[in-house]
């Protein structure tokens, strides 16, 4: 049944390459789009069951929360820790833009030190990627102020790996704010979060308090990224699937002559269509798994390309895997079945004459 692949090996190879490209590009675009959201969400989720932001400010970059409320919050029942964070971005030496994270001392252990020590005043720890880009400097300039490098850390979150961490007091001076947001960890995550949220809200009327999960689901920036990445992924899905439909359709159309001969000698339409379906599905499955493997390799390489500072990080989750597996095979079947069913209605001699 699969002898036609071997007989027309160059044509098969071209179809395979095209299908692999279509599927892999869909994998990459979707995974990278989701990766941006996932990186920032992971950062917020680490040690954060509840998040406190400035009321009425949609973006954490512009949010300003008075850090002084951290102390009364930490004294409330069932509170494990309260971490203050300033999230900013700016030029770091020759790197035109990178993340600058000002954090309270109790968040420092979240950054796994590869060498050196956590920063004190006037010091900075560099993410592994930016340290490599800057060729392991002893000091760096952040937004015009000089900082001594006290160490280097590694983080699984690309944003953090490509940025720097400084004490929150230094960040307050650089960004002229108290903190961007507070992350609150609970001792017992099964407790009633709502009562804690209400209690925290009562401390200050300029803050907004949400569970981190609720915040991530409703965060405007994520919504924008999610919509943009959704649109790009949909276009990519559409283009990729359209390519597969066209390829399979061309493959079947190319074989109308063979289809005609087989029908002329009395091979049933059902058997011919079943053979085509088997061929198309096997070709698409091979293309899918090659594309999946290549995408995993490409995502890993992209994450380690110095130029991208680790910001390009994507993960292919089960949902995306299943969506693409089903999508590519359904589209391939559609592409193959439509011309096959049309051809099945045409008289054999016409198929032979048109295909010859």
């Amino acid at each position: 049944m699969f002898k036609s692949f071997l007989r027309y090996r160059y044509k098969t190879l071209l179809i395979l390459i095209s299908a692999v490209s279509a599927i892999a590009s869909t994998f990459l675009i979707t995974a990278l789009g989701n990766g941006i959201i996932e990186m920032y969400a992971s950062m917020l989720r680490s040690d954060g069951d509840i998040i406190v932001t400035q009321k009425g400010v949609a973006d954490t970059f512009f949010s300003d929360v008075n850090l002084s409320i951290a102390e009364p919050i930490s004294k409330m029942a069932n509170i494990e820790s309260v971490q203050g964070i300033i999230v900013g971005a700016g030029a770091i030496d020759v790197v035109p833009i990178a993340g600058i994270y000002g954090i309270t001392p109790n968040r420092m252990p979240n950054y796994k030190l590869l060498r050196g020590s956590y920063p004190k005043g006037g010091e900075v720890v560099l993410g592994e990627s930016i340290d490599s880009i800057l060729k392991h400097p002893e000091s760096v300039e952040l937004l015009g102020s000089k900082f001594t490098v006290s160490g280097v850390y590694a983080s699984d979150i690309g944003f953090e790996n490509g940025g720097v961490v400084i004490p929150i007091a230094d960040a307050q001076k650089l960004f002229n704010k108290s903190s961007s947001f507070l992350l609150i960890a609970l001792r017992d995550i099964d407790t009633d979060k709502e009562s804690i949220v209400t209690a925290i809200k009562s401390l200050n009327d300029k803050i907004d308090v949400k569970s981190t999960t609720e915040f991530i689901d409703n965060y405007n920036q994520f919504k924008i990224i999610r919509i943009s990445s959704g649109v790009i992924a949909s276009i990519s899905f559409f283009m990729g699937f359209l390519a597969i439909v066209s390829l399979m359709s061309m493959m079947v159309n190319d074989r109308r002559y063979e289809f005609g001969i087989k029908r002329a000698v009395g091979i049933s339409r059902g058997r011919i269509i079943a053979e085509i379906v088997a061929e198309v599905l096997s070709l698409t499955l091979v293309a899918f798994f090659i594309a999946y493997g290549l995408s995993l390799v490409a995502l890993d390489l992209l994450q380690h390309v110095e130029k991208f500072q680790g910001y390009l990080s994507g993960r292919i989750d089960t949902k995306l895997f299943v969506q693409l597996l089903l999508g590519s095979n359904i589209m391939a079947l559609f592409g193959a079945l439509v011309p096959s069913l049309i051809a099945a209605r045409v008289d054999p001699i016409i198929l032979i004459n048109k295909g010859a």
Binding site: K3, I261, K262, A264
Partner: protein, 203 residues
């Protein structure tokens, strides 16, 4: 018996066959003869069920082909067709081209290939053998199921006179109804009937 009742066929706005009615007797040897463009290949395609006529009725043993429930199976079991240009499938070997149309055992297929003198070519692909050998393979494919009706469109065009004679001897020995389209029927002798066509009409 095959009956054609008022068969006409159009290609676009042009009528290729005009109101053909004829009866073909069982086990007879019939030649459809005519100049190039006379409509003989179209008539052969219609009679052999490979092309639906625009108008008219085609009956096999009294049953209209429109009433045959599985036309593919009917074609496979009862009709053999030898095309002018052999039309073998390029990615299958000579043996596979024949085996794909039948459930008969390998020994029987090889025996037929031997009788046509192409048994050493069984594992070759069509583009690895000569035009005459391809044509003999096409003959083997057409007759392997011992059909009741054999149709051939210029079947010996690629064969020398010796192989031509061999093929016709084999076809005649099958006790099937033979219908052959050719532009020069004088090269095929003897036949029971010559159906002459001119400009899509019987003459």
């Amino acid at each position: 018996m095959i009956e054609l009742l008022n068969i006409s066929h159009d290609y676009g706005s042009e009528t290729i066959l005009h109101d053909i009615s004829l009866t073909i007797e069982p086990s007879s040897f019939n030649i459809i003869s005519g100049e190039s463009g006379s409509g003989k290949s179209t008539l052969l395609s219609i009679v052999s069920t490979l092309l639906r006529p625009t108008r008219g009725l085609l009956r096999y043993d009294g049953v209209s082909i429109a009433d045959i429930p599985d036309i593919d199976r009917f074609r496979n079991e009862r009709i053999g067709f030898i095309f002018q240009f052999h039309y073998l499938i390029a990615h299958l070997t000579i043996y596979e081209n024949i085996a794909m149309v039948t459930r008969r055992p390998r020994s029987e297929i090889m025996e037929l290939l031997t009788s046509l003198g192409i048994d050493p070519l069984a594992s070759k692909y069509p583009d690895e053998v000569s035009g005459g050998q391809r044509q003999r393979a096409a003959v083997a494919r057409a007759i392997i199921n011992r059909p009741s009706f054999i149709f051939a469109d210029e079947p010996t065009g690629n064969l020398d006179s010796h192989n031509s004679e061999n093929v016709f001897s084999l076809l005649r020995s099958l006790d099937a109804t033979l219908i052959v389209a050719t532009h020069d029927h004088t090269k095929i002798k003897p036949s029971d009937r010559v159906i002459s066509l001119k400009d899509g009409r019987l003459c």
